[in-house]
Symmetry: C2
Subunit: 387 residues, 2 copies
Amino acid sequence: MHIKKQRLLTPGPTPLYPKALQAMMGSEIHHRTQDFRDLYSSVLGDLKAVLGTGHDVLMLASSGTGAMEAAVTNCFSPGDRVIVCSAGKFGERWVELTRAFGLEVLVLSAPYGSVVEPAALAQALAANPDVMGVFVQASESSTGAAHDVRAMGEMVQRTAAVFIVDAITGIGSMPLDIDRWGLDIVIGGSQKAFMLPPGLAFLSISPKAWERMESARLPRYYFDLQREKKSAAKGESSWTPAIALILGLAEVLRYVKTLGMDQLIDNAQQLAAATRAACGALGLELFAPFNPSGAVTAVKAPPGLSSSVIVREFHEKFGSIIADGQGEMAGRIFRIAHLGYYDIADLFALVAELELILIAHGVPVELGRGVAAVQEYYARQKQLATV
Amino acid sequence: MHIKKQRLLTPGPTPLYPKALQAMMGSEIHHRTQDFRDLYSSVLGDLKAVLGTGHDVLMLASSGTGAMEAAVTNCFSPGDRVIVCSAGKFGERWVELTRAFGLEVLVLSAPYGSVVEPAALAQALAANPDVMGVFVQASESSTGAAHDVRAMGEMVQRTAAVFIVDAITGIGSMPLDIDRWGLDIVIGGSQKAFMLPPGLAFLSISPKAWERMESARLPRYYFDLQREKKSAAKGESSWTPAIALILGLAEVLRYVKTLGMDQLIDNAQQLAAATRAACGALGLELFAPFNPSGAVTAVKAPPGLSSSVIVREFHEKFGSIIADGQGEMAGRIFRIAHLGYYDIADLFALVAELELILIAHGVPVELGRGVAAVQEYYARQKQLATV
């Protein structure tokens, strides 16, 4: 057995930012002290700055799904009609969640690998003027496709509906102009572009959404956003906060501010583009070629080879943990992530490993060809002459 | 600015083993307690097992050079005649050290990149029957060359001299049969194949060396090995031990025992061979082609390009810290390390980066060609069919 470093390379949890992990060791503090209130206020402020929004930003001790539930329970009343734009596993989660709380759900669905086109939403909104909310994924990480939330937001803005965007893998992997595009609630999570372990969720909340909450009657307690807003104003969380993660987040936000949020996004998008170039060079087919996400690239397994085998061999042969397809896509696609703490060296190694895995299964690839495609992409971006 | 992970890829300090770093957080213990004594005894026992020796093994809170000094001051008396086999910067350190303590030093030197041949030592030993000690580097990490310590040890064994081997980068990168080859003192350090930060040094000490210490009269106090041996027998160190590093070492030794010391060595040697293959494919010249070390490969900078520029660009462009030449070799060679916590994915990325650096300076390399050489080497080792 040789040395195989374990490398976490999935679309979430993503690779951890080492200085954040170190900062998490400082957790021996109490959350009802002025020191913590100062930390919490500063983290919320930095989060708002990094998200580039004037809207309120709140934080919850939960996974992203908790914040999704908060959006549902805080904005709606039993029987409200809503539209869910669903193009994958996470779209289906919106459907389940809204139905679980008794909303009347109109599902606009697109096949896995495609997206719901803004035109379809326009039509549905026109036909259903009583719709109270629209739900979507900015990046559908089960398929590697990205929705045009800008076009959608501008439509929903002109209606009474609130536009609720699961941007858990969208934040930090695609531009999101929250305020201008009419994104009323935007949801994020710590284990994505924020380079932390799971356990923290974030929401930005527009004035339109706050106004809606005045009349929304679904039951809520732990995820009561109005209460959370009042606590946040005092530098506190309503319930016990995830202290270690908040300490880590402070460190990540310092890093992201130094890097620049635009550069974090560009980093993911360039890694995604280089990954697509490598797939092309290796004759691999993309699962979502037309609306590719900057967060994750889903690649079809070559004929006769299960993606589950590819994923298993990444781990067994090289220690790399990448993502298989989810649900019905398991065995059919594997997913290479780009959002958060990834760099070009990660991709060099990953593509070299992929080539060796393919060749071991008789897939005719030329060794080094995919890596060269990544290098060529990199050289073009940096305007290096190549020979 | 995009994300660039800092990757420590030098021949020392080497990349850190994450579980060891985590274990170092448990340092809030006291060293004069039974808990610590149990830990210390067990670490010394594991170290002995991993080194595969029946000799005593001791540990010092110092860098490797401290253990080198201990070997000198504990084994010799003023004016003793010794032979130093010197083939680089670390050979020169033996010369400086032995002279600093008033020994009469006969230097057998080989040009940088070469090694002192066993035949030269045989001749010197025959001509100088009064020699009390022979010093050498198992792996001369300033040049990437390895000495034939086996042949040398078998010669010294037949004389009254003690054979003192700086194996700081040799342990874990080459086979060392300490007991059978007549290696009287073998020196190691935490920041090499032991995957830890610097601050711990180790020595194995043969009965012949212990016997010599009875009469050796050089002054010593902190590095008094006889005192240290008595302390170790009680599970203690003579002076305050480097507690965090010892906790980390316990974790590393657990890992190395699971992996197998032979596999740790094979890992380094295969990475070294694959690196040489990549250099060949890229038209780069090796600095020590004939006696290559498994610890580190020194590569000549291509004509007209300084290795210091290559090293700087690894860091600036990709965040990778590799080693330049030392002393007079700065600017002329760069060094790629293999010993300790390195894996094939590290090498894939490093070679891809090297190709891009070379091409940016007009060195005619085909992108992906060096990576492919590493992949082909890997595939041959694993007996994968390649297309």
